[in-house]
């Protein structure tokens, strides 16, 4: 049973090995706005609002405690 996640992970990694770019083709990906979390301040403020108002949190990152608002 434990081998299934390992197998899936291996499959994903091998599938991923065909994707991607050469180091000299990273010009667009290197732009600030192409970072996955390019505005961490805004993201953390949003996470705080939605943590206070909804039953879900986290996903992008850790969704734990740290606030008595929920």
């Amino acid at each position: 049973m434990k081998t299934i996640p390992v197998f899936v992970m291996a499959l994903l990694i091998s599938a991923c090995s065909d994707l991607g770019v050469k180091p000299w083709d990273r010009d667009i990906l290197a732009r600030e706005e192409m970072q996955l979390n390019h505005d961490p301040i805004e993201a953390s403020l949003d996470d705080h609002i939605y943590f206070s108002k909804e039953a879900s949190s986290g996903g992008r990152g850790f969704g734990g405690g740290g606030c008595g608002c929920n």
Binding site: G20, P23, D27, E32, M34, P40, H48, K53, E54, G58
Partner: protein, 444 residues
Amino acid sequence: MQLKKHNTMKRVKRLNTREAKKIGPALAAATCGVLGIASTPALAQGEPGTWDFDVANLYYAESDSRVTAVEPVFSATRYFSDDRQLNLKAVFDTLTGASPNGATPSDQVQTFTRTSGGQTYDVEANDAPLYDGFRDTRVALSASWLAPLNREWEYTASVYGSSEFDYTSIGTGGTIKRYLNNKNTALNTGLFVSFDTVNPPNGTPPPLAEMARIARNDSDDSKTIIDALFGVTQVINRQTIMQLNYSLSQSSGYLNDAYQLLSVIDLNPGLNYGGNFQVGGNNVYLYEARPDSRMKHSIYWQTKYALENGDVIDGSYRFMLDDWGINSHTFDFRYRWDLGGSYIEPHFRYYMQSKADFYQRYIGSDEYSAGNLTEATADYRLGDMDALTVGMKFGWKLKNNKEINTRIEYYLQRNTGDNGVGLLRAQDLYPDNRAIIFQVGYSF
């Protein structure tokens, strides 16, 4: 000709070295969450020995005199040699206003006891019962250290602490990342543990205790939250990057909201059918009781795509389910419209959740009399809900990588559920919550 080719090669090599420093963060799985801790800053643009600063102020205001929050944030990142960096962050959070206390509205004036000192407050007939003593200041400090172990491995270590008048939290954690396939793939895993203490005035109410004759335990209660995250980030092509995370969060301990009540509604046939159930001439309200543990699972997927004209599309989806019976879907979409020295970014977010198994808008008098209720909450945040956010962000690029930005957003929450019986049917049991989000930020 040969010289020209040589110079071109040198220029490409220089560019690659500079951009190689930036691509690390592009692959980083962010770990900010509610704790506000970023495993990696937005962009590793600093030379060793330099600092980057980000300051922002959030203004959040709900309609109908509900919650208003002002939240300034200060973040500083120091760069060291060998791509190591330290991020320090402080958040100050001031809340005022009124918040739903969980009770149902009534055609009679309702009197509630405050949590501090036995004072009371009245809610007018047909008004939504709001706890108006909602006033709090929260200070949160965090530090995060990021460093490579070698060309393929990188780690972060974080500490967090926050304090508000009835709540304190300390936490620590870290992530470790492995780059593969020429740094086109990154595997990320992390763990964060928080120890939180709940200390409302006069202690926490016992579960399902009656508001009027409450015997508080006069002590602190605590909860522990363990978060684990597993993520894959993949460069798809020159214009596309994708991230997939699985995270789980285990909370245990005191998980109630110490201020949340439930109304007991009279289900006996007669003139008061659907009105507040009374004992000794007083309405009966009970404090909520949630389970003492919760396990949440989330799948999060995000893709960023750069168009030929410089615009960027950012889409994400999150599915969450937990052992309280809640599941939720979150769709988030941003389109960054590049205007050269500035940008405009429309934002759309849609969220929907199903209710917790133990959520009920009120307690029937028959359930109350039977005395076998063990868990119940009327907290609207645990009910059937959907929410919509629409907004716009504007940014202006200044010299030397400085930026000013501002955003304004509108947030709407809508709850649905059982509309009650008898007298209760004339009341609005699920009022919408509307809020304005306004933020100004400066990076330098």
